[in-house]
């Protein structure tokens, strides 16, 4: 199953903020975590991830710092800010509302299946 581009883009911000809410991280680790959490179904590109991180930084939801672990290479770590946590909470509510609505729609129709052909079309 492939998740469409729109849905990937829409879910990217809460995913990144959610991952960073558990602790600071860096680009590649975030990408891998998304991969693992979605069981490989969410395909993120670098062209999506890094500009998104930079945008979140510009908006003040995250901040970043270059750190050099002992004997390692310089790496850019991102941390969520207070404002970012507030944003995450807001997005969570929105997503919960969306999911709730979808659930309501799907339980009303019991299960999703192709609509049966209409009588007059069959009868022709």
């Amino acid at each position: 199953m492939r998740i469409t581009k729109d849905l990937v883009a829409a879910s990217a911000t809460p995913l990144v903020l959610g991952i960073l809410a558990e602790g600071q991280s860096y680009g590649y680790a975030i990408l891998r975590q998304v991969d693992e959490l979605s069981g490989g179904q969410l395909e993120w590109t670098e062209g999506l991830l890094y500009p998104l991180l930079h945008r979140l930084e510009r908006l003040g939801h995250v901040d970043s710092a270059w750190e050099t672990p002992d004997g390692g290479r310089r790496r850019k770590y991102y941390r969520i800010t207070e404002q970012g946590r507030a944003e995450l909470a807001a997005q969570r509510q929105q997503w919960a509302a969306v999911v709730e609505t979808l659930r309501g729609v799907w339980s009303a129709t019991q299960f999703v299946r192709p609509m049966p052909a209409l009588l007059w079309e069959v009868g022709g």
Partner: protein, 456 residues
């Protein structure tokens, strides 16, 4: 993993990195970040049992095309597509101390110029009274020495160059003030025009840091001149807006600011702007595209069309050129414009490039200007004996001949170049050498004309 394959991997990453660094949308920190990403993925893949070169290929492939990546970055960082002049620019550490002092030194020089123009006022030489003649003659002596001083400081010139500069400005000062010119003398206007030109070349000595013999440095000075002019005009426009608003707002509260504006803001601002414009050109030269060559590109075809149309009109209507008093001046200015178009096309040209359409257009422009000027000269020689040799006419004819000589030889070199018989560099060399001729002529007008024409 062996040491050999490790080195190979580093080489591949360095090559990939070089591609990234060529992208304007990706700044160095972004490329660092992406390199870290690439390395992370390669480490994972080699950990899973792949060979380093395979891991590298897969990691690069996963990252997707560089074009797409840059496009995504550009959407977030659209400001990067506009080169910005950062003030003060990020300097390299060794040059940092000096470039930190660059701004204060420039401001000091600009302030000096602004103050200097008001000093004669202390001695009763007012701008409003009949002393406009004094200011007309001496304007460049207030504006240009501070700018020359700024460049002398910036280029760290030796004592010898400072002495040359001081001598040139001193001679200019003497020439402007020592001659007992008659009240209605034509030489006043001539000196007022030619002294700035002569002293501008003196500024050139400071600009090139005394390496006056170097053709490349002279070309730099020509480039500088074009950019400076553009920046000066822009500063002038901004200053005009500032003064208009100042006058308007003060008038609204019933205070007449006219005197303050015309006696202080305008002269002091104009003098300071000379140095500020020079500093701006210096500060932005490697940051922003040069404007003069861009304007040249736009206007060369237009001027070529206009001049050709003029020639066709002359032939079609069979009208001779109406030789009036000021007609020479107009055609002198035309030659200056054509020369400017030629100079700034040369200044931006890749010397090794083969002749193209633009070069032919340029040649057509120069040739049509030459034909027009030849017609003017032929028409005028008959009249010159009739008028006699006044200072104005002599200066105008002299300038015409100097420009004509330059353009004629340029056309010849251009023709040789377009036909593939000579290198383009010869044209550049000719133009840079010819600067000396302008200097010699300007000094001749300033120093010798009043004597020759007995201060008439």
């Amino acid at each position: 993993m062996t040491v050999g394959s490790d080195n190979e991997l580093e080489g591949q990453i360095a090559e990939w990195r070089a591609y990234m660094d060529r992208r304007r949308e990706l700044h160095r920190p972004d490329a660092d970040e992406l390199e870290d990403h690439l390395r992370g993925r390669i480490a994972d893949l080699t950990g899973a049992g792949l060979r380093p070169d395979e891991a590298f290929l897969i990691a690069v492939k996963r990252m997707g095309s560089l074009d797409e990546l840059s496009r995504e970055f550009a959407r977030e960082h659209s400001e990067r597509l506009w080169k910005q002049l950062v003030l003060p620019a990020e300097p390299d550490p060794p040059a940092a101390a000096r470039s930190r002092r660059d701004l204060p030194v420039m401001l000091l020089c600009a302030a000096l110029a602004a103050v200097a123009i008001k000093v004669p006022g202390l001695f009763g030489v007012d701008m409003e009274e009949d002393d406009t003649r004094f200011y007309a003659l001496n304007l460049s002596l207030f504006a240009l020495p501070p700018m020359a001083a700024y460049f002398a400081w910036k280029r760290q010139v030796g004592v010898r160059v400072v002495a040359v500069l001081a001598a040139l400005f001193a001679v200019g000062g003497v020439a402007a003030n020592a001659y007992p010119l008659a009240q209605e003398s034509q030489s006043i206007a001539l000196t007022a025009i030619h002294l700035p030109l002569a002293l501008w070349l003196a500024v050139g000595v400071a600009y090139v840091g005394g390496e006056w013999g170097e053709s490349r440095r002279r070309m730099d000075f020509i480039r500088f001149t074009g950019e400076w002019l553009i920046y000066f005009v822009l500063l002038g426009l901004g200053g005009g807006v500032l003064m208009a608003f100042t006058a308007g707002t003060f008038e609204a509260i019933g205070v007449d600011a006219q005197v303050a504006i015309f006696q202080w803001v305008l002269p002091c601002g104009a003098m300071a702007a000379v140095t500020v414009a020079a500093w701006l050109v210096e500060a932005k030269q490697s940051v922003i595209e040069n404007m003069a060559p861009v304007l040249t590109r736009v206007f060369t075809p237009l001027f070529a069309v206009a001049l050709s149309a003029f020639l066709v009109a002359v032939v079609w209507t069979n009208n001779g050129i109406d030789i009036e008093r000021d007609v020479l001046i107009i055609f002198d200015l035309l030659l200056v414009v054509v020369l400017g178009l030629l100079l700034y096309a040369i200044s931006a040209r890749d010397l090794a490039a083969p002749p193209g359409l633009f070069d032919r257009l340029q040649l057509a422009l120069v040739v049509s200007a030459l034909v027009i000027d030849a017609m003017v000269l032929v028409a005028i020689t008959g009249r010159i004996s009739e008028w006699g040799f006044s200072p104005n006419k002599t200066a105008a004819v002299g300038e015409n001949l100097i420009l004509l000589t330059n353009l004629a030889w340029s056309a010849w070199l251009f023709l040789a170049f377009v036909r593939g018989r000579a290198a383009f560099a010869r044209l550049e060399l000719w133009q840079t050498r010819y600067l000396a001729a302008y200097g010699a002529w300007a000094w001749t007008v300033v120093l010798a004309f009043p004597l020759v024409f007995r201060f008439a």
